[in-house]
């Protein structure tokens, strides 16, 4: 049980964005990732969602980003981020099955910030997290580009799956989600991503948030333990 699905949308004039992952079921864990050009504060999240990671750096260009989540999906959840700003914005939402709905964060989400104006290709390092065996890891990444027309894309992190990579919108093009299911316990180590400007001009900084999402079994093999218990073993 693991990453289920994701959805992505973006707008060059802000507004209210809704992107719903397909197949969301009751008791999924839900994770959102929002960015907006400039520094205007957090948007309004859907009912039942809570902001976890945030970065509001003003350099090299200035771009806000926020991770937010919902511990226990109903299966008919709202995925609408309400935003009164008209700056370029983008939203990724994702769903994970078999997670610990009572305590889904194995560790406090880890925020990375790089405020330099880096030349493409950028060798980015995202700070890792301390996982518990059985966790799913979600790495939410973005660039803060200094020119409108740049289009930035990320390399795939070793042993991870690139679920989403980039939007074709000025100022917020570098925006992604990479995941890995069922990791071993302990420190993940840092994550290496190469950001490449595939078209356009200008440099970029980068940010990100790493989430460790706990298994419903409370650790590696937890699901197996539950299954054995159901069979009368142990």
């Amino acid at each position: 049980m693991a990453f289920r699905s994701s959805a992505i949308t973006s707008s060059n004039t802000g507004g209210n964005l809704t992107a719903t992952p397909s197949g969301v079921a009751a008791h999924d864990y839900l994770l959102g990732w929002f960015t907006r050009d400039g520094n205007h504060g957090a948007p309004t999240y859907p009912s039942g969602w809570t902001q976890r990671g945030a970065n509001t750096d003003t350099t090299p260009d200035g771009q806000d980003c926020y991770s937010f989540d919902k511990d226990d999906a109903t299966g008919s959840d709202s995925f609408t981020v309400t935003d009164g700003n008209t700056n370029q914005s983008a939203l990724i939402t994702s769903a994970y099955s078999g997670r610990n709905n009572a305590a889904p964060r194995s560790a406090t989400p880890v925020v990375t910030s790089n405020t330099s104006s880096n030349t493409s290709p950028i060798s980015a390092t995202y700070t890792g997290i301390t996982a518990v065996a059985g966790d799913d890891i979600a790495i939410l990444i973005m660039t803060d580009q200094v020119a409108a027309d740049g289009r930035w894309n990320a390399s795939t992190i070793t042993n991870y799956t690139q679920q989403r990579d980039g939007v074709a919108i000025d100022w917020v093009s570098g925006f992604g989600l990479q995941t890995r299911d069922n990791v071993g316990g302990g420190a993940t180590g840092n994550f290496a991503v190469t950001w490449t400007r595939t078209t356009g001009t200008g440099n970029a900084g980068y940010r990100g948030v790493v989430h460790a999402i706990a298994s419903s079994g409370g650790g590696g093999g937890g699901t197996t333990v539950k299954q054995l218990a159901a069979l009368g073993a142990g």
Partner: protein
Amino acid sequence: MAKIRDLPLGTYPNGTVSFGPRLFSNGLAGFDIRIGRCTTADTSIWTNATTIVTIDLQFSYDGGSTYTALGANSWSGPGGIVTSHGVEIPETVLTWDFNSTDPNFAKPNALKGQITVTGGPIKTYLDTTLA
């Protein structure tokens, strides 16, 4: 990239206009929607910040038999002149992309949508460009 003009430039009253369904035998990788908006060069297009446009998209993964729920994938926003870094934006551009790694929902094979205007009427146009 195939651009489709779903709404020709014209004045539209409050209410809802539907488009589609459109079928994609090889699946749809993504698309964008462009809506003409107000600039100092033409203040007649989507002039008022009190005029709200809502775009609702519905996707099908079974050839159009069933669709995602209305409101599950949408955007809404106001009119009026919008600038970014001092430059006026002549079109609202919205994107949706699909996930080729997803085992169950890689690419939809049908799409339909509706556009709702409140606080109108509105003069504008709407284009859809398929990836």
